[in-house]
């Protein structure tokens, strides 16, 4: 094992070979390494057996309702942004067994699941998604009740972040203050640098766990030229970013505008399909499903991601609370950008842009906020009747 001089907070340089070994070290430490791969022309987070499985030389083109992978002129390993998946599928799986029950002579017995939580290493977490994990931590770990299933997975997870070298087409992380550079919440954070013939990675060591992994792979101290090259990379990505969301006063803005006619306009376009909730890396709503086998002796409870756009979501005996698409889109957007702040002390939006890319009718959350802001400025905001006065 090569000696290491790296401490937490330091930056070191890894060559391609070092990155290859880093992934192997994670495997030898018992992690299931999950990272971006290509499958059927799509970007999918899956098990990475080696860095050869990364979509080397691929970039992406994203705009409202549009995602395509495009070949890049350079052999970049992390040349694309985020796809439709996020890491929440590993920390809070789309379907999770909560318990099984057995009918017995003297009642019923409830058995918690016994399988141990998987130990994941996330290879290539973007800054927006780091913040998304931090947001879900607040939801599942810092409330009145703690979700033991999330906790078991989260505590073990190793996070290798990657700073974005290019802005993705729909993201607006810079204006949300979440990216494109990973600031915290990682064990290791890489910046991929491709300049001329040089191809290397600057690795920031975020935790003791990260330091131990770095200690097992060949690396060298980062020089100022390398650090500057890395800084140039993320500055460029931030500069390229076209989209912004003005978060100034946003909670009060939305609280004042629950009756703004803009909700009717967006509802006329919204299909209430719920794609935005499924691709959103912070959306945490779920439902539970109870079932029994044919003999009626065994029953199970599963937890499944749920979508606030369904009529069923708010169903109460007699009808749904949010019967109209207008109210359901409003619930999603105001939750994400306003009520979330009251609930968890942070915005529910990290600016990843997934909801824009994967919306089949290209509804753009930043445009919707802008429209509300502008209509209020123009005096069209219905502040007098029914809007909140906060």
């Amino acid at each position: 094992m090569p000696p290491t001089f790296a401490n937490v907070g330091d930056e070191v340089v890894l060559e391609l070979q070092g990155l290859r070994q880093l992934l192997e070290v994670l495997g030898s430490r018992g992690y299931s390494v999950m990272g971006p791969t290509l499958r059927h022309g799509s970007l999918v987070y899956d098990r990475l057996s080696s860095i050869d499985a990364l979509p080397r030389g691929w970039g992406d083109e994203q705009k409202g309702g549009f995602f395509r992978l495009r070949p890049l002129p350079e052999p970049r390993l992390f040349g694309y942004g985020v796809g439709q998946q996020s890491w929440k599928q590993f920390l809070c799986p789309p379907r999770k067994s909560l318990w099984q029950a057995r009918r017995e002579e003297n009642g019923l017995q409830i058995l918690p699941p016994e399988e141990p939580a998987p130990k994941f290493a996330f290879f290539g977490v973007r800054a927006c998604d780091l913040q998304a994990i931090a947001v879900q931590d607040k939801v599942f770990l810092e409330g009145t009740y703690i979700d033991p299933h999330y906790r078991a997975r989260r505590e073990q997870a190793f996070i290798l972040a990657v700073n974005c070298a290019h802005a993705c087409g729909t993201g607006f992380c810079a204006s949300m203050g979440t990216g494109p550079k990973a600031a915290s919440g990682f064990d290791l954070a890489l910046t991929e640098i491709l300049e001329g013939e040089q191809h290397y990675f600057l690795a920031a060591v975020g935790t003791e766990r990260g330091r131990q992994v770095i200690a097992q792979v060949p690396h060298r101290k980062a020089g100022s030229a390398e650090q500057e090259a890395a800084a140039r990379t993320t500055v460029r990505a931030a500069r390229e970013m076209g989209r912004t969301l003005d978060t100034g006063d946003i909670k009060a803005l939305l609280y004042r505008n629950y009756e703004n006619p803009q909700w009717d306009r967006v509802a006329a376009r919204c299909l209430t399909c719920g794609n935005c909730t499924l691709v959103c890396p912070t959306c945490f709503c779920h439902t539970v499903e109870d079932s029994s086998d044919l003999t009626g002796e065994q029953a199970e409870r599963w937890r499944r991601w749920d979508v606030c756009y369904t009529v069923d979501y708010s169903y109460l005996h007699g009808g749904s609370v949010r019967a109209t698409p207008r109210s359901r889109y409003r619930q999603w957007l105001t939750h994400k950008l306003a009520t979330w702040i009251d609930q968890f002390g942070v915005s529910g939006c990290v600016g990843c842009g997934r909801c824009i890319t994967w919306c089949p009718v290209a509804i753009d959350i930043t445009e919707e906020v802008r429209a509300i802001r502008e209509s209020e400025r123009a005096g069209a905001g219905d502040q007098g009747s029914g809007g909140r006065s906060q």
Partner: protein, 279 residues
């Protein structure tokens, strides 16, 4: 007040001791904790998640006496698949219980105050534990009144108990129904209309309200008209709930999770959301 729960996602099996029919579709179940389990301590206004084997789980308020935690009492109306299955349970059968959850009625603040308990329909079930609590400590409070309304005389729940309470000199009970046949000699009309009959000192009155949204809205308005302070009016809200833990998202009411920030709210805290449609 939140009780510590070992694993809040796992139901505990309780056995049905007794089932009482309240109305055509509403039943009161008395449940017994499993052997060795501690008494079921709860505060008035809290609820449990009740699970019927293989069918599903629903949030149901506790309707029993908090001073008698040896048994657990729930009153359920058969309106959906799960509540119908609960109502079909027989003595000796088992159901799963998770809880207690939620913010209770602020009965600890009530000593020295006039207290109005106001309920519509099955809304009497979530306030009944508060009534038990107040009656057990009756000398501590000023005037104590219950205003209760149902659709018809046949829809009145806890009828014998209501009659017993009406026999007390220290508890005024007003009952009304929306419609009735000729043999009903009680009040006919909606709950808010009876507020004018209640005796209380508005400055020192606490109101606990549970019922359908429209009933609560007009009742609050009447109380405000009579000078009761907004922060002394408490409403119990209802939403779809899947977890009871503030994790599943279903019970949101603006910034609140009704399951853990409620179900009981001081009116001034929820007023804006309470008056808005489809939030």
């Amino acid at each position: 007040m939140l009780n510590a729960i070992a694993d809040p996602m796992l139901p505990t099996p309780y056995r049905v001791l007794k089932v009482n029919r309240e109305t055509g579709d509403t039943f009161t179940l008395t449940l017994k904790p499993p052997k060795g389990a501690p008494h079921f301590a709860f505060a008035p206004g809290q609820f449990n998640m009740l699970y019927v084997f293989g069918v599903g789980e629903v949030p149901i308020s506790i309707s029993g006496d908090p001073d008698k935690p040896e048994t657990l009492v729930h009153t359920v109306r058969a309106v959906g698949a799960v509540s119908r299955a609960i109502c079909a349970l027989k003595k000796g059968e088992t159901l799963g219980v998770r809880g207690p959850f939620g913010v209770p009625w602020p009965v600890e603040k009530a000593p020295g105050w006039d207290v109005l308990v106001i309920a519509g329909g099955l809304g009497l079930a979530p306030v009944r534990p508060a009534v038990y609590h107040l009656l057990a400590r009756r000398p501590q409070y000023g005037n104590l009144e219950l205003i209760y309304g149902a659709r018809t005389p046949e829809d009145l729940v806890f009828r014998r108990e209501l009659e017993r309470w009406r026999g007390r000199f220290d508890f005024r009970v007003h009952v009304t129904v929306d419609t009735a046949k000729g043999d009903w000699r009680g009040n006919v009309g909606v709950v808010p209309n009876l507020i004018s009959r209640a005796r209380f000192d508005p400055e020192h009155t606490m109101a606990l309200i549970c019922g359908p949204g429209v009933m609560m809205r007009f009742t609050v308005q009447e109380l405000l008209n009579r000078g009761v302070q907004m922060e002394n009016i408490y409403v119990s809200m209802e939403r779809n709930m899947k977890c009871g833990l503030g994790l599943c998202g279903h019970c949101q009411l603006g910034p609140f999770f009704v399951c853990k920030d409620g179900p009981v709210f001081p009116y001034d805290r929820v007023r804006d959301w309470f008056l808005m449609r489809e939030v």
